[in-house]
Each structure stands twice: as C-alpha cells, then as structure tokens.
C-alpha cells in the first residue's frame, strides 16, 4: 500500500527546498570564493561589483584611522589598497592572508565591510619573537 503521510511529504518538500536554496544561493559565489589582486586589476568591470579579494596583508601597511583600518593586500606581484570599515578580527596580522568583501572604488581603493583571516594548515607552538606577533 503506497501512502506517504502528509507530514512525510511536507518534510521531504522542506528538505528539498532547503537543498535547492542552499545550492542556488551558495554555488553562485562559492566555487570561486575569492579573487586575487591580479584578477581584479585585469577586470575592467571590477569596480562597482561586490566581490571578495584575497592576498597577504603587506607588513607595515596596516594603519588604524579612526573607525577605519587601511592596509594593502598583495598576491602574485599585484597589490590593492583596502579600506576596511570596523575593526578586523583579533587574529588579523601583517604577513598573514586575509579575505575582504566589498567593492573596488573608482579611486582604486577596495572598500570592504568584512574581513576574515585565512590561515594555513601548519600548526606550531608560539615562541618568543615568532613572526605572527609582528604587526
């Protein structure tokens, strides 16, 4: 006797809809989660589109300017200056990778409202004078 219950069908529909929404919303930006400074430089349509940008936070470039943090992200020989609204996370360090989300302005400065820190898959104990503590 084939008779799925109403609750079962509803549950299946909700799960399918959830999966569909996740796939639709997620995969749009997910499969290329970020772009590099070189790709941003090469793309004439880059200004005015919201995007994510990654690179190493250039040592010595981090400047706190009121409620803003300004720094440069570098990768593959290209650099982009980032103006970040709000404080970056505690783990944000010069010399580490970061991903910023925002829009490249007409002045060539990337206006970001979110910054997340990338970290590698190597793990080591803290020693005095470790490069991670340098700002």
């Amino acid at each position: 006797m084939i008779r799925p219950t109403r609750a079962g069908v509803t549950l299946a529909a909700v799960l399918l809809a959830g999966t569909g929404l996740l796939v639709q919303a997620g995969l749009r930006d997910t499969l290329s989660y970020y772009r590099t400074p070189a790709e941003l430089d090469a793309d004439p349509a880059a200004p005015a589109t919201r995007t994510r940008l990654t690179g190493m936070v250039v040592p010595g470039s981090v400047r706190h300017d009121g409620r803003q943090t300004v720094f440069r992200l570098a990768a593959e020989g290209h650099e982009v200056t980032v103006r970040q609204r709000g404080a970056p996370p505690d783990t944000f360090r010069a010399g580490q990778d970061a991903v910023v989300e925002g829009v490249l302005g007409p002045d060539g400065v990337f206006d970001s409202d979110q910054v997340v820190v990338r970290h590698g898959n190597d793990y080591r104990p803290a020693y005095d004078g470790s490069p991670g503590t340098a700002r």
Binding site: G8, L22, L27, P89, V116, V117, R118, D122, Y123, P125
Partner: protein, 293 residues
Amino acid sequence: MPFNSQTTLHSCIIGRVAFPRPRSTGTATRRSRPDTARTPDADARHGHPGTSSNRHAAADRRTLGWLTAGLTTAAATAGLLIAPPDALQGDAQRLMYLHVPAAWTAYLAFAAVLATSLGFLATRDPRWDRRARVAAELGVGLTALTIALGALWGRAVWGTWWAWDPRLVSTTLLLLVYTGYLAVRRTLGEGRTTPPARPVGGPAAIVGIAGFALVPLVHFSVVWWRSLHQPATILAPHRPPIDPLMAAALLLSVAAFTTAAAWIFLRRLAALERDTPPTAPLRSMARASVESR
C-alpha cells in the same frame, strides 16, 4: 522448551526460509533483561538457543566502552594540557582536536552506510538495513557536530561563524542529504507502523549509496576550489609542519572518536534489535521472511 501451536506454525514458516530455530516463548521473557541483547537474527545465525553469543556481544561492547573512556581521557589530557597553543590561533586551535575527528568519524559513518547498503541490496538481509540506518544516524549527528564546532573555530580564527565557502556549503549539503535519507526511512513508515507501510531497505539503500558521492566532494573541495577553509594536514600528500605534540593529540582524539562511534553504533544496533519483536504477529513474520530472501 514450551511449545504451543504458535511456535509450531512459526517453525513451519521460518524453517522454510533458513531460520532453523523455532522461537520459544522463553525468548520473550528473557529479552526483558536490559544487558543482554536479544537478537532473534543472531540466534538464528548461530543455530542454537544459547545466549552465549549475546553475552559475548554485550561483553565486547562493554570492553569497547572502557577503551573509549580510556582513549577519551588520554586525548583530553593531550589536547588540553600537553599540546602547546598554536602560535597564530592561540588556544582556539585546540578545537581542531574535536572538529577534525568529528569530521573524520562522520566520513567513516557514511562509508559504513555505503558498505551496509550495498550489503543489503546484495542479500536483502534486514540486519544490513539496520546497520545502514544506525550508521546514517551517527553520521548525521557527527556532521552536525562538525559544523557546530567549525562555526566556533571559524568565529575565533577567521572572524566569522559562516562563510559561503565550498567546504562549508558541501558539508551542509552532506548533512541535508543524509537527513533526507533518514526522512525517507521515516516517510516509508519505519518506526511508526510494524511492519513499515512499505519496504524501507531498498529505497533507503539507493539514497544511502548515492549520497556517498558527496563525501569525496566535501573532502577535496578545499583542493578543487578556492576556499577559506584550510586544507588537510595529516592526510595531505606533502605533510606541512605540525608540532609533534599537536599531531599526537590529534591522532589520539581521532582514535577516541573512532572507538566512541563504534561503541555507540553497537549499542544503538543492539537496542534496535532488542526492539524488533522476537515473536511478531504471524502475518508480519511471514512477510518479513519473504522480504529477507
């Protein structure tokens, strides 16, 4: 052995389909003892009425439980007290000793769903189907745990609870697919009517096998696509540096999670088999026997 007309009928039907032992009413009384897993299937397999195989199974589970307790204590000591904090991430890195083994054990559970579902399709033996169900329940719980621990770790180190990153999205899909697997079982009537309204094992096995395709996708998402999530360390082809004490704590906690998962798997399986009525109504027994062929 008390022998009545019902058991005689049983032995007629069951004997034909290779369940050599007639079920006695004594089985039903003994099964109320909580520490002995009464499994009609196991009895049938061994072909004798003795409970020694069940006592052995219960003793094995207890041994595994103590092994889990020991490994968990060792892993907690290593992860919390012995391993040093990470240079960049500080103490938040210790979440690795929970997040990584939870993900690994979830993979293992879904691999078990794959193997047991194939076993069920090959044999149509309901024992394989039960194992697939228990493995999927375990896998769903562990995937949810992985995502929750990952969110904590991500908040502490990346600065965000969630990111639309290939690893995070594919892991969430994995959770949804195996939640769907459990929903399919329930929709077909499992646990609501005895016997289920429709055969559960076949359709469930197909979902369980197809869903496993997501596991390599999740694991290699950090290699195939650009990701915020860091790639594997221990399973990396060229292993990046990891402090030996950290690696030891990680391997210990992987061992602890694996044995804990095996222990919970066996306990849950025994509980399910206890709940399978040993003297079910005649009609359903016959139907179950036909299905199991």
